[in-house]
Amino acid sequence: MCSEPTGGILDFCSVYRLSAGLLPSGAEWAAFALAAVFLAFIVINGVVAVTAGYTWFERRVIGRFQARIGPNRWGPFGLLQPLADVVKLMTKEDLVPEEADRPVFNLAPVVLLVPALAVVAFIPLGENSFLGRVNVGVLFILGITGLNTFGIFMGGWASRNKYALLGAMRGVAMLISYEVPMALALAGVVLTAGSMALSGIAEAQAVPFALVQPLGFLVFMIAASAEMSRAPFDMIEAESELGSGYHTEYSGMKFAVFQLAEFMAPVVNSVIATVLFLGGAEDVGPIPGQVAFVAKVFLLVFFLLWVRTTWPRLRVDQIMAFAWKGLLALALVNTFAVATEMWLLLGADAQLETRDLWIMTAANWVVAIAAVVVVANLMGQRKIRPEAPVPSPLAKMAAEAD
């Protein structure tokens, strides 16, 4: 392993060779472990630092959307605000409800945070970086992001609080529902790219898949924002109904870890969407790949914020109906269209040309617009009719008094 020299940013082999050079020969296993720990250290700290910056960005942007200023006091433009937040959260009292299931209660934030971090290791930031070449990358992302269900479950259950449990139950029902259209949307990507490795998918995008499969991209983004339970899908912690849902009873650093996981989700999801649909870290003309990558992620994050501040929250039944009747149908249409096109366009060499991708783009935009119009009309037909108001007994009394 690692006998041939490889280039690239932060790939396992170059780190491994570096640490093997530092250690005496015969201690290869130690070098192996050292390289793994070093990379894990970089991933975790990098993601946490980016997330801290993102909290500032989100609060400022939402402030602008809501015609207020947002945090602007500490540091230039309020940039040091995340630091102040961390200090505040660390010095807060750590409360555990008396009735709580303590070990489960304490583990829940960690269980929620770890999947989001683990996914990042699979992102191909450049040639050979991290684990980007693992040949089941897409499936791994689906499987690992599914694990955060347990964090929410554990938090809601262990709190021994009705609101927390309600939030957790809603959340889990929603998460497992939206995993289905998400997986189907990814099926289209895997079909077109002919690879499940994230690096392979990024390389296959001579035309970004967001253009080739607009419907798949739409379904993926909607399902992803439901998966991270952000407005308009923030059923899990609907503040006006449930206190703050599954983490109602949490305080101090445990609450901070929950918040970290929640703020990390849009960043991580935008990164995944960039790799799967926007071409990843490929060079765009004269712009180096990594710069283009950051710019695309930034665009997606901003788009998610825009949606978040614009749409009102859906009701529980509307959310479930939307997943099963709307999104699932759209995802199926997308998968079917892509599979048919692949069947027609794949030549004898089983390779898609760039020209074929453009043909698929043209066909899929027609399919996408038609499908969205049809589904929107079908779902919109059953309008919510308010029930006839029950006359108040007070009004009756008032009428009798006259």
Binding site: M1, C2, E28, W29, F32, A33, D101, P103, V104, V134, N135, V136, L139, F140, L142, G143, I144, G146, L147, T149, F150, F153, M154, W157, L165, M169, V172, I176, E179, M196
Partner: protein, 202 residues
């Protein structure tokens, strides 16, 4: 059976193997011994993740990921859902008359597993390659002797098998094992329709 033979990381792999094996078994014991049903189902998750880690050690990444997707992501969530709907979760289930049949079934299952484990050819692909260039006798995947000139080709095949398992699994599922695949699909479809029929409002 050697795990990860041929890499510099044999010691690390062995250590990881024992840690994973121990935690999987301890978690599995906790599943059956804990009175608290919710904690027991959480330990079931740990145990299943441990099995997924085993698959990774055996270089079956696809199986590992499918294990996590299906058993951890779907089956365990369903079990926990059922647990949350149960009364007296912290007391666990009281023993009932089904103890004896359950024990007999478990023993039968154990016997089946042991039989299968003992009768499976566990040799990894690289075990069939020569340990060093001194041994001239090479064996291909079917066990036939091959010449030394094909050693490089076999080695290439080993690398290809390990680096791209998904198309092979897919090809086998849709050719040799298509009957089992179709049977499972029909079963799942029937279960899906049955579930909808059960909960439909009349």
């Amino acid at each position: 059976m050697t795990l990860g033979a041929g890499t510099e990381a044999t010691f690390a792999t062995t250590a990881v193997f024992w840690i994973t094996a121990a935690s999987t078994i301890i978690a599995a014991l906790a599943v059956v011994q804990l009175r608290n049903l919710f904690r027991a189902s959480l330990f079931l998750v740990v145990s299943l993740v441990g099995v997924a880690a085993m698959f990774i050690l055996l270089r079956a990444e696809f199986l590992a990921v499918v294990q996590i997707l299906i058993y951890v992501g779907a089956v365990s969530v369903l079990i926990i859902f059922a647990v949350l709907m149960t009364r007296d979760v912290t007391d666990g289930s009281p023993s009932n008359r089904l103890r004896l049949p359950a024990g007999v079934l478990a023993l039968l299952f154990l016997a089946c597993s042991v039989f299968v484990i003992l009768n499976t050819d566990w040799a990894l692909l690289e075990d069939r390659l020569p340990a060093d260039s001194a041994s001239k006798q090479l064996v291909d995947l079917s066990g036939n002797a091959i010449g030394a000139d094909r050693a490089a080709a076999v080695e290439q095949e080993v690398v290809e098998v390990y680096s791209n398992t998904v198309p092979r699994v897919a090809g086998l599922l849709l050719s040799d094992y298509v009957l089992a695949f179709e049977a499972a699909s029909v079963l799942l479809l029937a279960a899906l329709i049955g579930a909808i029929a059960l909960v439909r409002e009349r």
